[in-house]
């Protein structure tokens, strides 16, 4: 992949974040922090990783907005559908719902995506299944049940990515569960190939995933910053679930423009 592809990715991600900000002005609250931290990850999956028969499940369903923006970018849903987000009789709600165009599984309650992907990957071994989890989601026991099962069955057509922003809705993973780290070693012990990368570098995400050995299920720990790259949102718990006011909106837009 040529370097200018990653310049394109950078420009796309700027545009996705601006779309999220625009949407934010129509609703009282939205998961902006956790959506911003997943932008490069989800964009890479849709634009430079997924092939025709591959599928994506957003296990951290609260970041549904970034998936919707990619579905709009890929022309799978209309602008009207996108802007019906959380509106009365709207097409899209906060969490992805199975049956809506481009949504392969209903998520929202954490700890469900990996289990469902294990069955999907078992059913179709020639497709690659991409699944994005949050690090807070790793507190759920169901994730470890499925991690163990996927390792045992060696479902090597699963590529999982943890959006490791270290923040949940109110607390820091480092504080609530300091022993969650190192994440990669735990998955390695469960039979997965693992790697770590900067989750805001499309190039690193792409390279780590495409250079995997492909003989085991793969887990990428993508280090991210919640609210990235907006100065007053970065790593601040309040932005898990808050819509920027007009002034904050203008400032965030201008900061993203300058990137």
């Amino acid at each position: 992949m040529k370097k200018n592809k990653f310049i394109d990715a950078h420009l796309r991600c700027k545009s996705h974040r601006k779309e999220i900000l625009k949407l934010s002005q129509n609703v009282q609250a939205l998961h902006i922090g956790g959506s911003f931290s997943s932008v490069e990850i989800v964009d890479s999956i849709y634009n430079i990783l997924m092939k025709k028969n591959d599928k994506f499940v957003l296990s951290k369903g609260h970041a549904g907005m970034i998936q919707y923006i990619l579905l709009y970018y890929k022309k799978l849903i209309s602008k009207n559908s996108l802007y019906s987000y959380c509106q009365k009789n709207g097409y899209l709600g906060v969490h992805p719902d199975y049956g809506k165009v481009g949504i392969n599984a209903s998520t929202g309650s954490l700890g469900h995506g990996l289990g469902m992907v294990s069955g999907m990957a078992l059913a179709k071994k020639n497709s690659i299944y991409y699944v994005v989890l949050s690090d807070g989601e790793l507190h759920e026991g169901s994730v470890w049940e499925s991690a163990l099962t996927i390792g045992a069955l060696n479902l090597k057509n699963i590529v999982a990515i943890v959006d490791n922003n270290d923040l949940q809705s109110s607390t820091r993973a480092t504080d609530t569960h300091p022993n969650l780290y190192p994440i990669d070693k735990k998955f390695s012990e469960f039979g997965w190939e693992t790697a770590k990368c900067n989750g805001h570098s499309s190039q690193e995400i792409y390279e780590k995933i495409t250079k995997r050995k492909k003989n085991k299920p793969f887990m990428l720990i993508a280090k991210t910053v919640k609210g990235y790259p907006v100065s007053f949102m970065k790593d601040i718990p309040m932005w898990h679930y808050r819509s920027p006011n007009k002034e904050e909106y203008e400032q965030a837009m201008s900061e993203i423009d300058k990137l």
Partner: protein, 309 residues
């Protein structure tokens, strides 16, 4: 019943390559061994990991397969409840959850292994169907339905081993969603489901000796319920007896009594169900049923005194 289930599933799986079985650390008796040997790629044991079992079944169904989740009843429904609700029912996927050894079957294992409220819980989830066959013969038809016709989640509630057939005499074929008359009588209507049908036959025999003839109906589909037939039953009988191996809350007792009120039924309804109380005593299944007022003797005495009272 578990052997009948395994055999019938095995037969269907020979024809249908989309049938998968996902089990959670259960000893695989009888024909389930054949399934595992013949179709190793379609038999998955996830170990003691029931959330993984249900999630995996959802994923298989999302990709067009027909999975069966199979383990002891309490582990199929209670432990992975949110996966059952969100992954299977919310997404309305054709997955059959097979709750083996349901009700008071696992009598000696204590209250942790008794499913006295499973139907009540499963009934309250939208999109969920519930089938509790009365005997191995009904179970065969139910498995065929789940393999070939079902397009949404089913909770298939079965016993364990040693159950006899009671429904072979019926003139009516088993059909999903239908109440089925097993034997015909004039005075009393007994409604039941699951392997406790044996008690219905016992009491009917004793009542016959007292010149009271009973019809016995198998209400094996608890959801969607055959209200149409129930209304006909309300018109036909003055005394309705319900016998179920399930809590008095949310099972057949609730279904019939609510409908009786709605349809202004003027007759008597006599219910025999488990109390709203945990069972933590031991012995055989009948010992547990006795302790909640479901002994053959009490069932007979209560009906007999009520119809003569």
């Amino acid at each position: 019943m578990r052997n009948t289930f395994a055999e019938q599933l095995y037969q269907n799986a020979i024809r249908d390559k989309d049938i998968y079985v996902v089990v959670a650390d259960i000893s695989i008796a009888g024909s389930m061994v054949n399934f595992q040997k013949k179709h190793p790629n379609r038999f998955i044991n996830v170990g003691v990991a029931e959330m993984s079992m249900i999630g995996m079944c959802a994923g298989l169904a999302l990709e067009g397969k027909k999975p069966f989740a199979y383990t002891i009843a309490n582990f199929t429904l209670y432990r992975p409840f949110e996966m059952v609700r969100n992954d299977l029912c919310y997404q309305n996927l054709p997955v059959t959850i097979v709750g083996m050894g349901a009700g008071t079957t696992y009598a000696n294992l204590g209250g942790t292994h008794i499913t006295q409220e499973d139907i009540s819980i499963a009934r309250s989830i939208p999109n969920m169907s519930i089938i509790a066959p009365a005997d191995p013969d009904e179970l065969k038809s139910a498995v065929d339905y789940c393999c070939n016709k079902s397009k949404s989640p089913v909770y298939l509630r079965i016993g364990k081993s040693g159950e006899k057939n009671f429904t072979l005499l019926s003139r009516e074929k088993w059909k999903f969603g239908k109440i089925r008359k097993i034997i015909n009588g004039n005075d009393i209507c007994i409604l039941t489901y699951g392997n406790i049908i044996r008690k219905a036959f016992k009491v009917a025999e004793k009542l016959k000796g007292k010149s009271a003839s009973c019809s016995i109906y198998s209400c094996s589909t608890l959801k969607p319920f055959d209200y149409k037939r129930l209304i006909e039953i309300f018109k036909e009988y003055k005394t309705i007896v319900i016998i179920e191996d399930h809590s008095i809350i949310g099972g057949l007792n609730s279904i019939v009594k609510i409908s009786a009120f709605d349809n202004k039924f003027k007759g008597k309804i006599i219910s025999f169900a488990l109390k709203d109380k945990f069972l933590n005593n031991y012995g055989g299944q009948d010992d547990l049923l006795d302790s909640h007022g479901l002994s053959d003797k009490r069932i007979f005495n209560k009906i007999y005194s009520d119809i003569n009272g």
